[in-house]
Amino acid sequence: MNPVGSVRTLLNGTRRRGRGFLLAIMKRPRKIAGLFSVTLVLVVLGLFLDSRDHIFTVNAVTETASLVTTDGAFSEWRVSGASLLTDPFATTADEIELPENAYLLIRKGSEIDLQRHGTRAAKITLRAKDGRVGSIVMPDADDRVLGSWASLSIVADGRPLVWPFRGLLRVGDDVTSGVDSILLSGTVNILEEQLFRDTRYNAGATELDRGDRIRFWKHATGRAPKEAVVEGFFRIEPSNQESFTEPQNAIQLIAHGGATFVNIERLGSSGYQIKATRWARFLYDPLLAFIAGLGALLFAAIEVYSNIREMIRDARHPDE
């Protein structure tokens, strides 16, 4: 058999089948549109109802933050030249000056409060319900094991301090009398997992108000919400920064982690939650937005085709 002839026959067959399919569509446009609509609705519904992971990122400037460490190895903070107190009833006369390159190693489960007003000294208080809060490691001296309470005051001189952490984080403080340190500004960004791809898209951002207190929460189905573990770092800018910019106030904070929602407590309101709603996917999810756009385009095409077909039919049979 001639191979060229076989290919030609095959192509002709394919063309015929394609033409037949197009003719079938042209003959039953309403049925095809109905089928297409149902498929599209099912796909959109699937994308809408699909549960996805969310990463919340908090970028804030705050005078205070609290942390419960869940990972000891992750929490090693440079505390060069800090003043250390190891007893809650100690006076300034009992302060211990730490040398250069002293590091604070924080034990898992320790509670940490941080405070910094303006460009003044950063203050840390550590406490542990039982046992020790950690230890101080110094290059040319023995390690100093801390008890169940310790307080440090550190002036960032010359270069910034960056303190990484992993744990349960509370940023800011709920305002009441006696509270002198609050969150100054910040944003919460939500990154949502994209379907079929190992990428994420921005699913919304919320501005924080001065005086807000925020916490991350994880909510498993059928269980009470519990605080989510997040990772991040505190950055203390030097108070005598030699640059073109002004020294940065307070504590710069970045924290991110998988959570279901971020809870905001605010004086004068009962507080609210920031979460990625499924409706927001129509705005932010590129795939859902593409499918929704494609659907709209195809419906418009079908509508235009139907109208043209009717116009042609009217032109051919003007008496009908």
Binding site: T64, S66, S83, L85, P88, F89, T92, E95, D113, Q115, K123, I124, T125, R127, W149, S151, S153, R170, D173, D174, V175, T176, S177, G178, V179, D180, S181, E265, L267, G268, S269, S270, G271
Partner: protein, 237 residues
Amino acid sequence: MDYRATLLLVAALIGFASPVSLAQESIAMLKDSELQESLAREASVSGRVVAGVLSSDASADDSLFLFSSPARASGDVCVRVISRDGLYWSENTFRWPSNSRSEVVRLQYESRYDLNSYRKLDLAVLGYEGDCSEVRDGPVLIALRGKAHALPESLDILVNSGRSDTFAVLTNLSTGPRTIACRPITDGRRTGYDTICRVPVADSGSESLVVKILRRRFDRMLSPTELVLRLPNEPGR
């Protein structure tokens, strides 16, 4: 039985039962004509360090009581109530019942709001000797929420610490001063108070317990607050 006889019997029973039930309970009557209280949509901020002193046996209930004390010196008692979220607030003076020998006195506290909805430690009650309009503080009588009227083994002092490390020092114990670390409240709103100091009263030797509240905020000691607690006759002893 004749219906008149039945009615007489019922009337007699009611007449007999009422004085008995009244005799069982001493009530501190409200001094003003109506209870001064508010439940705001927005939290009010209290400037006091000590928000309340309650028996640890308190429960979520709208009935409020004060423990009597032989050391009590005033005929009036000022009672302040504030919720942890700062939304509920009240301040009223009550007249202590004369010639009462009861160890627990119920307050004529008929709130318009549902105080049952506040959990055990979500409502602070501070009852101190004196008229609210005349004195701003004084010796404190231990308050109680709920039906358990047993003399307390320990007290919960609810403190608005300003997020500091808080310690309660019992200064007048027969065994010498004792320091107790207080527990911070970390969950939920803390507008009214943010710390709970659980203080045992079993080893106090006198009719009053002197408690000094010490607060440390990082490297700074805040000014101490001292309060005198009037103890019941036999507080858990």
